[in-house]
């Protein structure tokens, strides 16, 4: 695996990590500072607290799959047009 591929994966990983961290921080902040608003039920009679929690779990898996898919070609060589 080249350093370019590793470096690209690392950058991608950091971006996805930052995105999820923002979501997680928002979730923790909402529970900590607006607990009463989490009781509202916007969808199918289920409240924000449960929906956002389930959503975070599903999002984590979706991001993991996306990362795996985007890194699927990083096996041992540079991509076409990339400097090795």
């Amino acid at each position: 695996m080249t350093s370019t591929a590793s470096s690209r994966r690392a950058r991608l990983g950091l971006r996805l990590f930052a995105a999820y961290t923002l979501l997680y921080a928002g979730f923790v902040g909402a529970n900590a500072f607006f607990p009463d608003r989490m009781e509202a039920a916007p969808l199918a009679g289920v409240n924000w607290a449960v929906l956002s929690g389930l959503g975070l779990i599903v999002t984590a898996f979706a991001l993991a799959l996306a990362y795996g898919w985007m890194c699927r070609d990083d096996r041992g060589g540079p991509r076409p047009g990339e400097r090795p």
């Binding site: 080249t2 590793s6 690392a10 779990i57 898996f61 993991a64 990362y67 041992g76």
Partner: protein, 751 residues
């Protein structure tokens, strides 16, 4: 509530334990060398390793602790699920591939990859031991809780049994067998949790009376303002009397009665409407000053006879629209229906009189479903509903520790060494996230199912999930309990292996002058496993009263504070020095341990002292000690000379496992890597060339080959002020900015 053991349950339990031991003995033959014993020769398939991640991670805390916490408090337990799963994002996106690249057998290997420091080995080894032992305690507590209803044995016997079996597994096998046991266990746990959830949804919700509901009475309503007078005159108490509140009972929110037939009862007061209240009969047990059980629900304990049992609890008191049974429900309909119902939760209060006699009262708390599914009901999370910022910090601190802790747990980190390369590490983490995420969604349903099952033991939240299974089917209970027991076995095996690796590889060999042969190394690791297993047995018996998920929160805090700052900064800050890493690990570990030991929770639950006397302003240390670890590393690194690259990267004479000619990452029987490095500039020093393409000798005048070749120098991380490639070696060496070390040079050099 302890029922007689079922022969079927015992049979299935023994079959599972026998299968686990059989796998261990069979695969133990492959673990004669240290590479096999500690890292399974790096030959585990990525899918198997991914499911084994789930097996390692879904410990007693997840299955027993979280389900129990949800069953007793509702949504707050689910917050643990979310935090535990979120931690895997850190593991996948930040830690997984570098760990595979940098390490060999232990977490300390990775930290020490740029240096050759005894101090790093020592501090990381001690940190691994501390975190592992903190994590071992809840596993052993969970084992003790499981064995009580399953085999009818006392708690200490369960702890002892797990300890003995695990020591046998670890001593006879190693990472190969542990991995396959984790694979089976992880797969079975997720599959049977799915079965349990399907049965819960198919059953739906019902107000049908449970054993506790039929035997525990409700009196009233009575006028709130004139409660005692109305109760005295009520026909229910005809011939009886209200027992005057004396001694410690004066401050307790209960009424005691003695009825005409001599039965003594304890009642809690619940609102009926604005002006009226009802009395709900509580369960209680009394022990004397010596701790001997005297009475249960008013029935005296007779010598030589099994003690009377508390009633199983957990029910829906009222369903929406007045229906008595919903029938099968979909996943969202189950949650929305429960949200509009009224549930009977249970509280606990211990009352100790002036003679030292203690009465523990378990009382009913009718609670709206909307309150069950909102944050802030568990004592740990009460601060959420406070207006003070300091009170909210405990919750934020815990969630931060859960987020950061996963990627710092030694027994998780060493699993990256059991696959062949970085791609396998990445794929196995994704599989792990899938399995673990699925399981944590199921915990919500299992916990709420237990809450409304009528089968919970009011004294032990840890048994909610297995007892829920018993309420549905005796066979399912046997299988679930056996899987849960195997869960404990697998996690404890992994933890003991990580600890044994730290003792042998990090502490004994690297720090002392002892030099061991490969077979001696394995033998010492097995001896260390016995000692660590014995310590965990003792701690498991000592901490039996605490919720296992709560205990795991401590382990996460210590791991995140001690290990994560050093690991992350090693990857992302080129100016990190060995002294910075040592200081960060030591300060993070000691500060988090000290904080926990001085917290209100520890004062109340471990020391038996009032929480107000605690020194720490809140119980969870992460929000203070994790940043403190980062800060310590930065200050210590800046206060010490930059690492001379020639010294930092040369092969160490003290390395217990010397690098192979083609580089230190080559291991086991795997062939040497095909060189994919770009052409090395002609200016490369002869000495470096002679050493081969190892990162140890790859530097040239303080710069790496890649940095020395401007055309091949990759960009720095976004946010970095200037490209490093064009800077002088001195400027690079003294740079205090984030240099994208991990993203650039180290990736190439580490090969």
């Amino acid at each position: 509530m302890t029922s007689a053991p079922s022969p079927l349950a015992i049979l299935i339990f023994l079959a599972f334990v026998g299968l686990t031991l059989g796998i261990s003995f069979y695969l133990g033959r492959q673990a004669k060398s240290s590479a096999g014993y500690f890292a399974a020769h790096g030959q585990i398939p990525w899918f198997v390793n991914g499911v084994a991640f789930a097996g390692d991670y879904l410990s007693a805390a997840s299955f027993l602790g979280i389900c129990g916490m949800i069953a007793f408090y509702g949504y707050d337990g689910f917050l643990y699920s979310i935090g535990y799963l979120a931690g895997w994002i850190v593991a996948l996106f930040v830690v997984a591939e570098p760990m595979k690249r940098l390490g060999k057998f232990t977490f300390a290997d990775a930290l020490n990859s740029r240096f050759s420091s005894r101090g790093i080995k020592l501090s990381a080894g001690v940190s691994t031991l501390a975190v592992s032992i903190f994590y071992l305690i809840p596993q052993m507590v969970g084992a003790g809780a499981l064995v009580q209803p399953l085999l009818g044995l006392p708690h200490w016997a369960g702890v002892l049994m797990v300890g003995a079996v695990v020591i046998l597994i670890v001593v006879t096998a190693g990472m190969v067998s542990t991995t396959w046991v984790q694979f089976l266990k992880g797969g079975l746990l997720v599959a049977f949790s799915g079965v349990l959830t399907a049965m819960i949804l198919n059953r739906g919700l019902s107000t049908a009376p449970t054993a506790a509901a039929t035997q525990l009475r409700q009196w009233g309503p009575f006028a709130r303002a004139d409660l005692e007078a109305e109760l005295t005159a009520a026909p229910e108490l005809a011939g009886g009397q209200i027992v005057p509140a004396d001694d410690a009972w004066k401050s307790a929110p209960f009424l005691r009665t003695r009825e005409a037939n001599g039965k003594r009862s304890v009642w809690s007061v619940a609102p009926w409407d604005d002006r009226q209240v009802v009395l709900l009969e509580a369960q209680w047990q009394a022990v004397d000053a010596q701790g001997k059980l005297q009475e249960v629900n008013g029935q005296p304990v007779a010598d030589g006879q099994p003690p009377p049992q508390l009633l199983p609890v957990g029910r829906v008191r009222r369903l929406p629209d007045g229906v008595e049974r919903t029938g099968p429900l979909g996943p969202l309909a189950f949650l929305s229906t429960l949200q509009r119902s009224e549930i009977i939760l249970w509280g606990t209060r211990k009352i100790v009189d002036s003679q030292g006699n203690a009465t523990t009262v378990y009382f009913q708390k009718p609670t709206p479903g909307s309150q069950v599914l909102r944050p802030g009901e568990h004592p740990t999370f009460h601060g959420i509903r406070s207006s003070k910022l300091l009170d909210k910090l405990n919750f934020i601190s815990l969630m931060l520790a859960l987020f950061c802790g996963t990627a710092s747990l030694p027994h998780i980190l060493i699993r990256y060494y059991t696959v062949k390369d970085e791609a396998a590490a990445r794929k196995s983490t994704i599989v792990g996230i899938g399995c673990i995420g699925m399981f944590y969604v199921l915990t919500l349903y299992m916990g709420l199912g237990a809450m409304t099952s009528g089968s919970m033991d009011v004294r032990d939240s840890n048994m909610a999930a297995p007892l829920l299974a018993r309420g549905l089917s005796e066979l399912l209970f046997a299988v679930i309990s056996a899987i849960a027991f195997t869960t404990v076995l697998g996690t404890v095996s992994g933890l003991i292996l990580a600890s044994a690796g730290a003792v042998t590889h990090d502490l004994l060999e690297s720090v002392s002058s002892v030099r061991l042969t490969d077979s001696e190394r394995v033998r010492v690791a097995k001896i260390a496993s016995c000692f660590i297993g014995a310590i965990s047995i003792l701690l498991g018996i000592w901490f039996k009263e605490l919720n296992v998920s709560y205990l795991v929160g401590w382990a996460f805090s210590v791991a995140a504070s001690a290990n994560l700052p050093a690991l992350v900064m090693l990857l992302f800050w080129k100016r990190t020095t060995r002294y910075g890493i040592i200081a960060a690990v030591v300060v993070g570990m000691l500060s988090s341990l000290a904080w926990i030991l001085l917290s209100a929770d520890t004062f109340e639950k471990v020391y038996g002292l009032p929480g107000e006397a605690a020194w720490a302003p809140f119980s969870q240390p992460g929000i203070v000690t994790i940043p403190l670890g980062f800060l310590t590393l930065v200050v210590a690194s800046l206060a010490t000379p930059p690492e001379p690259e020639s010294a930092a990267r040369r092969p160490s004479g003290r390395r217990a496992f010397a690098p192979t000619p083609s580089g230190p990452r080559r291991r086991g029987n795997s062939p040497p890597r095909r060189p994919t490095e770009p052409a090395v500039p002609k200016a490369r020093p002869k000495a470096a060339s002679a050493a081969g393409r190892t990162r140890w000798a790859a530097s040239a005048g303080g710069r790496s080959p890649r940095a020395a070749a401007p055309q091949a120098s990759p960009r720095c991380v976004p946010g970095h002020g200037a490209p490093c490639g064009g800077r002088s070696p001195a400027a690079q060496a003294s740079s205090a900015c984030f240099s994208g070390w991990y993203l650039n040079d180290s990736l190439t050099l580490a090969r």
